[in-house]
């Protein structure tokens, strides 16, 4: 089920250099995402088996004090940083790579005018987001 993006990225880089086809064949497997019916998918709605993650409902039961974000180190800091602009609903929907979280942070600061916190807090928040809203783990 899981794709490890660093490996994918490395493989793609290798593909572009036309040196890594053998490696690509062993690691890029389109059938991998179709192996097994995802937990929580509903046979009476066949599309749920094809969603990136079918277990969105689990996260919906997070800590209500922090907009339903799941408990964990950084939950509180994440909540106060993010709700300055948007609600937690958009956070809870995400299942993205670590790299994408770094990019989103950059985009929010550079294009959307987000006021960044101290570096330690930034690290704490990004670690929390990458831990809880990831396509990698």
């Amino acid at each position: 089920m899981r794709i490890i993006p660093t490996i994918v990225a490395a493989t793609v880089a290798a593909l572009i250099l036309s040196t890594g086809l053998a490696v690509a064949e062993t690691r890029l497997d389109p059938m991998a995402v179709l192996a097994g019916r995802p937990a929580g998918s509903d046979p009476l709605d066949p599309m749920t088996a094809l969603r990136a993650r079918a277990d969105l409902a689990e996260v919906a039961d997070g800590n209500q004090e922090f907009g339903g974000l799941p408990d964990g180190e950084g939950a509180e800091e994440t909540y106060y940083q993010c709700v300055a602009c948007h609600s937690t609903e958009i956070i809870k929907q995400q299942r993205v790579t670590d790299h994408r979280w770094d990019e989103l942070w950059r985009w929010m600061v550079e294009a959307q005018g987000m006021v960044g916190p101290e570096p330690d807090t930034k690290t704490l928040i990004l670690t929390y987001l990458k831990t809880n809203f990831s396509s990698e783990r």
């Binding site: 009476l44 969603r51 004090e65 940083q81 929907q93 959307q112 005018g113 396509s135």
Partner: protein
Amino acid sequence: MSDQTASTSNQHDAEASSGSRRSFLKTTALSALGAMLGMAVPFERNLPAGFLPVALAQDTGLDLMSGKKGLMVLGDRPLNVETPVHLLDDDVTPYERLFVRMNGLVPQTALDQDAEGWVLTIDGEVETPLELTIDDLKSRFENVTRRLVIECGGNGRAFFQPGTSGNQWTFGAVGCPEWTGVRLADVLKAAGVKESAVYTGHYGNDVHLSGDEEKEVISRGVPIEKALQEDAIIAWAMNGEPLSAVHGFPLRLIVPGYPASASQKYLNRIWIRDKEHDGAKMTGDSYRIPAYPVAPGTEVPEEDMVVLTEMPVKSIVTFPETGAEVKAGEAVEVRGHAWCGKGDVASVQYSLDFGQTWQEAELEPAPNRFAWQRWRAKLTLPQHGYYEVWARAVDQDGIGQPPLSPVWNPRGYANNIQHRIALVAVG
């Protein structure tokens, strides 16, 4: 400028309240809140965690959602609301069943339905810049009423694996209301488009999530060739009523075939550019796809991302609702809609055996170009048991919908995966 001011003020507050991490955090968020409301929030340190002043809740438009029946709220700020696919069965999508995609906050003029003094400016690469009131538009140009599909570029994002960032729309960020307005092309011709014109740049008066009034929420555009085709309209009415607050009152563009982000809401300016427009969410990876196919999960350099233009061919099954019980051996109607970013759809097929065999569905002609087309089929399930109906539309070039997500892209746009529903036949 205001960003810097906010930053300085944050640092100052942080120093003042050092020793209490919690109060620092609360101050950070609420200072931003103050910036958003354009004023200081009195007694902000006394506000309980999670509390947001009433003004904020109202500006998102969430209060207006009581008029939307049975829709799913993906996010409340910004407001993003999806229609379950079985509620999209109408030929003309009614207000209650049209999705909402807000990039920012609903402007006060729209909340108040106040169009007093509204002016649409056409400027840039034109012979005669125009400043048009809504009455000017209505009286100077031919009024047209058309059914036009509007679909979010991210509709179907939920099916990309690995996941991509943004609202996880499934099938319901689409609709086909009846819009009334004037042709964009007529207005541009009245202004006299210069040879140097390359692209349009659209602007509205919606409010940025940060509350910074100087900041563009979204400003996208289309190639001038697309703008000069006769399909796109500047609309003031939807289904015979003035545009509602969440759908762009008092004026909006409808540029059919392109991602709905090109159909600017709260429209007050069209800037004709001499190059590809570079407004908010035109650049970076917003509404862009890789210039070449990439493996799922690949990060693509910004310079290799190109603007998403025509949306791909697509269809949905709107009746029955997935999971419905039907009688084995008895004919049942299955139906839905099909549409395509290039114009008319050529055909729709359906499969009852997981894609092993396909049958032709009946496909009605579009009432006008870029309206969705009704497809229907009468089918009989031979014996009791579990069945899936898969539907696929094919465009005029013979390009159809894939059974799984099409090529992955970093932001999850233009997913035209085949829609499947389950039917349970009982004996």
